[in-house]
């Protein structure tokens, strides 16, 4: 099977998954007791039953669940996520404002993780059992074990408060592309990327060390290829296969982590908005963010599958 056909087939197989994701997202919020209307009503005993029904009607909360779902889905498909209950602002507007912030943070976190982990993993595997390897393993183990909210607070405490190297407060909304943003991005980015960096280092080291024992490595050396060709061309590509598999899982972790990290750093992305929306029972916002997040994770998995097939031709044949 050619690579292109593989990609198309995988992409198509994602469609039912996305449908399932939308059902679950919708279901979760509509099956939980206490919709926003009953909450509002509870605060104000003067609301009549008729008014309550009218409110439900207006917010699409009346009628059988499947009809509510279809109405919601058809709106979502054209980019309409409804309105905030209290302010009446369009949820899509909130998404569009906040999503880039989170994407920038996530991408920076990933870039940081990859930039640290791949070289560290290679180094540790090539020097297996020596001092550098031990150091890399200890660091990786600590990285995996440290909760990111704690790491975030620690970084703020030491680097911002004590040493004054980084600003504590969030950007007073400089646009994202402004170079100054990088300074604000650094701490939350590192915080969010650390766990991923640690996991990737470990997997990179293990898979690389395993690959180095493969016969094709001895054979490549027997062909007189220089060691850097052996390591960076032959072994690296094989080891990356397991890293890509892990990366799909880690992306979900980074997305989940952004909720905590954005709150700790007051980063104006989807994660902190999510927390705020839950507080205020803004169902439409929570649903929209949940859906966007789930879709992002599904797409990350799709991307990993494609990368996987690019790296390892054997995959394309399954």
């Amino acid at each position: 099977m050619s690579l292109r056909r593989f990609v198309v087939r995988r992409a198509l197989s994602v469609v039912p998954v996305l449908f399932g994701v939308s059902v679950i997202t919708f279901g979760l919020f509509h099956l939980t007791p206490g919709d926003p209307v009953s909450q509002l009503v509870a605060l104000n005993p003067d609301v009549s039953a008729a008014e309550e029904a009218r409110l439900r009607e207006r917010w699409g909360l009346s009628g059988p669940v499947w009809r509510q779902y279809l109405a919601w889905l058809s709106n979502v498909l054209v980019g309409d996520f409804g309105r905030e209950l209290r302010t009446g602002r369009a949820v899509s507007g909130i998404l569009w404002r906040r999503l880039p912030e989170t994407i920038v943070l996530g991408v920076f976190g990933w870039a940081f993780a990859i930039a640290i982990a791949i070289p560290a993993g290679i180094y540790a595997a090539v020097n297996k059992g020596r001092l550098g390897d031990v150091a890399a393993r200890v660091l990786a183990l600590s990285g995996v074990s440290i909760p990111n909210f704690w790491l975030g607070l620690l970084l703020i405490l030491v680097l911002s408060l004590y040493l004054g190297l980084f600003p504590v407060l969030p950007p007073s909304r400089l646009p994202l592309y402004h170079p100054e943003t990088l300074r604000y991005l650094l701490l939350p980015g590192v915080t969010i990327g650390t766990a991923a960096a640690a996991s990737v280092t470990r997997v990179m080291r293990t898979s690389m060390a395993e690959e180095l024992n493969e016969e094709y490595v001895t054979a490549a050396r027997a062909r007189g290829l220089p060691e850097r060709t052996v390591v960076f061309k032959h072994v690296l590509r094989n080891s990356l296969v397991s890293v890509v598999t892990l990366a799909a899982t880690l992306t979900a972790g980074i997305v989940a982590g952004s909720v905590v990290v954005e709150s700790v750093f007051n980063w104006p992305g989807l994660g902190s908005e999510f927390v705020r929306a839950i507080d205020r029972r803004e169902v439409n916002v929570v649903m929209a963010i949940t859906l966007v997040t789930a879709v992002a994770v599904v797409l990350a998995n799709l991307l990993a599958d494609v990368l996987y097939a690019v790296l390892d031709p054997r995959i394309r044949y399954d």
Binding site: Y216, R223, G224, P313
Partner: protein, 363 residues
């Protein structure tokens, strides 16, 4: 005749947790230009370790502890890595037991051959590609042009081994080290690959060191052979003499156990007993616990490799050598065996199968 490879007094040890294993102990042999030299022994005899050591491919915990490996007169063991690399793959090709495992699964077979050619011969990519395709065609891969872009998993086992041979030959080497090249293959494919190897060795005028546990393989292909036991050479002889007039009891034992190609039976020699513990080899002759002719002297004195006619220490130039006390001190009982080899030498290969395989599912 000039020697391509002279190995003298090679010793390789492995420092394992259980103890020090002397895998190769003072091994000496020579291979002449263009000849096919067999190295036979049971698994664990040290033959593969010896072959890899020659190329400096022994990884920790293994260490080459002494000796000289002269390739075209130059000592490989005193070369640094980069000098050694310019010999490996260029002047010495290697063929491994499991050809598929020896190919990187994520690059195409052709790319890997071309990579070697580009690296050693400095060919530009397109010329390297052409040369690789010609080689693939030469080793009997049908439709080589298309197959060039196949990945190893799209090749059958036999085709992988053919590609490995093409790779070994790719830079016009003087020597090919083939380590159990057909052990992983089924018998009919094995016969075809051996024929191919013999044919190409002749055509390319390249010497071959053929390492195998299978005397049947040696018989059909080699000019001379060395028998190894527990890290040492016990006998060296031209192939006919080895078969019809073995001088060492171990060789004689192997002969009586020779499996014929086409046999599906257990291929291991049926000499009673097993190879000694490599960490703590028996004193005296290492073969004595299994030797039917062992005498008291054998438990004390380690026999040297000597010319069996004269009893004088064998040199690299001797074609005939054996390591048994019979030839130095004389054993009171002498060596009393006769050898019958069914079918004679060289005829074990099923010559009826000679059509070129198209890479069917069974190869």
């Amino acid at each position: 005749m000039t020697a391509v490879l002279e190995v003298e007094d090679l010793t390789v040890r492995f420092y394992t947790e259980e103890g020090v294993v002397t895998a190769v102990d003072g091994l000496s042999y020579r291979i002449e230009a263009g000849e096919t030299f067999g190295v036979v022994g049971e698994s664990g005899a040290g033959k593969s370790v010896a072959a890899l050591s020659v190329l400096g491919l022994i990884d920790s915990p293994g260490r080459i502890e002494g000796g000289e490996v002269r390739f075209e007169g130059e000592d490989l063991l005193s070369m640094d890595e980069s000098e050694l690399r310019s010999v490996r793959g260029d002047e010495v090709g290697t063929v491994f037991q499991d050809a598929r495992a020896a190919l990187n699964p994520v690059y195409t077979v052709g790319e890997q051959i071309a990579e070697t050619i580009e690296h050693h011969l400095g060919y530009p990519p397109s010329a390297a590609r052409d040369r690789a395709i010609r080689l693939l065609d030469r080793v009997g891969i049908a439709d080589a042009e298309t197959r060039y872009s196949d990945y190893p998993h799209e090749f059958s086992g036999g085709m992988c081994q053919r590609a490995a041979i093409a790779m070994a030959l790719s830079c016009d080497p003087e020597l090919i080290v083939a380590d159990e090249p057909t052990t992983a293959l089924d018998v009919t494919v094995e016969a075809r690959i051996l024929d191919l190897l013999a044919e190409l060795a002749d055509e390319f005028d390249v010497a071959v060191q053929l390492v195998t546990h299978d005397l049947g393989v040696i018989a059909g292909t080699c000019d001379r052979a060395m028998v190894m036991y527990a890290g040492e050479a016990v006998e060296t002889a031209p192939i006919e003499e080895l078969y019809y007039d073995p001088k060492h009891p171990y060789t004689a034992g192997l002969m009586s156990a020779i499996p014929r190609v086409g046999d599906d039976d257990d291929r291991l020699p049926t000499i009673p007993g097993t190879m000694p513990d490599p960490i703590d080899p028996p004193p005296g002759c290492r073969f004595h616990p299994r030797c039917p002719f062992a005498e008291e002297a054998c438990t004390r004195t380690d026999p040297a490799l000597v010319d069996p006619e004269t009893g004088e220490a064998a040199t690299l130039d001797d074609d005939r050598a054996a390591a048994c006390l019979e030839y130095t001190e004389g054993l009171s009982g002498g060596l009393d065996y006769s050898v019958e080899v069914a079918g004679g030498t060289g005829e074990h290969v099923e010559k009826t199968i000679d059509e070129r395989d198209e890479g069917g599912p069974d190869e």
